[in-house]
């Protein structure tokens, strides 16, 4: 059986924060993916950034003092 990759999702206060964070991560070359906020986290029509747990500290460092992160959650598979 193929093992499901583990992911974290990063939540922000607004869509514009997500876009700002995305631009920074793109510039830094940190892999991430914009996805709808998983239903088990919120029923709102929101978006968030998904990334692999291994690069969490790099992503946090890149966004430090630039974009406010609301929450980081593990995605349920």
């Amino acid at each position: 059986m193929k093992e499901q990759p583990r992911y974290f999702v990063m939540l922000f206060k607004s869509v514009s924060y997500v876009l700002k964070a995305e631009k920074i991560l793109q510039k830094e070359g940190l892999p991430h993916k914009l996805i709808p906020v998983p239903k088990h986290i919120s029923a709102d029509c929101g978006i968030c950034l998904r990334f692999e747990p291994a690069i969490q500290s790099k992503i946090k460092a890149a966004l430090l003092n630039k974009v406010e992160i609301e929450e980081i959650r593990e995605m349920a598979n």
Partner: protein
């Protein structure tokens, strides 16, 4: 006042309630039809409206509905054809097709639209109900390029058996034919043909 004809259509399945209601209206000015499901309710209401009746519905505590149909003076006769829709889901004859006509979803703001189309494609890729065919044209083809941020989602769909057609004219126009990352280069004959045959066409 003429008497009210009562038609008890509880327990009957479509199209029986409509057939009985129609028969009753042919011989009576006022008919009360009792039904116990939403499909019958909607169909009998539509029948009444179509035949020019006053339609009044009363919901009962036991879950049934009393539909009062009263023919208006001078209303058209009951000879007209009326086809009740017995199935909630329409018959699907052709393939389920999703058309991606831009690298945005909706109109008004492209930055937001680009966010939405990526979220849309990701959701389509992970949900159970997948399309049979996806068609990409105009700036939509940019989403199917190697550098696309939704390439993984599209590849997942492709490996799940979704056929992907990418407009060749469009790839040529943007000079990105060499960068195509998923799907096959297609032409207007196939694109127009599939869209014409589609059982369901979804255009986000």
């Amino acid at each position: 006042m003429s008497e009210v004809k009562i038609v008890n259509a509880t327990g009957l399945v479509c199209p029986q309630p409509v057939v009985l209601a129609k028969q009753a209206l042919e011989s009576h000015e006022q008919v009360m039809v009792i039904v116990d499901n939403d499909t019958a309710l909607e169909n009998v209401k539509r029948l009444g409206t179509k035949l020019g009746c006053d339609v009044k519905v009363e919901k009962k505590n036991d879950g049934t509905y009393e539909i009062n149909l009263a023919r208006k003076a001078g209303a058209v006769g009951t000879k007209e054809e009326f086809v009740p829709s017995c199935d909630a889901t329409p018959v699907q004859s052709g393939p389920f097709v999703i058309v991606i006509s831009a690298n945005t979803m909706g109109r008004g703001n492209d930055e937001l639209g680009y966010v939405l189309i990526r979220a849309f494609l990701h959701t389509i890729a992970v949900q159970a109900e997948k399309p049979d065919i996806m068609i990409f044209y105009n700036t939509g083809v940019k989403l199917a390029l190697k550098e696309s941020e939704v390439l993984d989602d599209l590849k997942e769909l492709a490996s799940a058996g979704v056929e992907m057609l990418v407009c060749g004219t469009c790839l040529n126009y943007f000079e990105v034919k060499e960068k195509l990352g998923v799907g096959v280069v297609s032409n207007m004959y196939d694109i127009a043909g599939i869209m014409s045959r589609a059982g369901r066409l979804l255009a986000p």
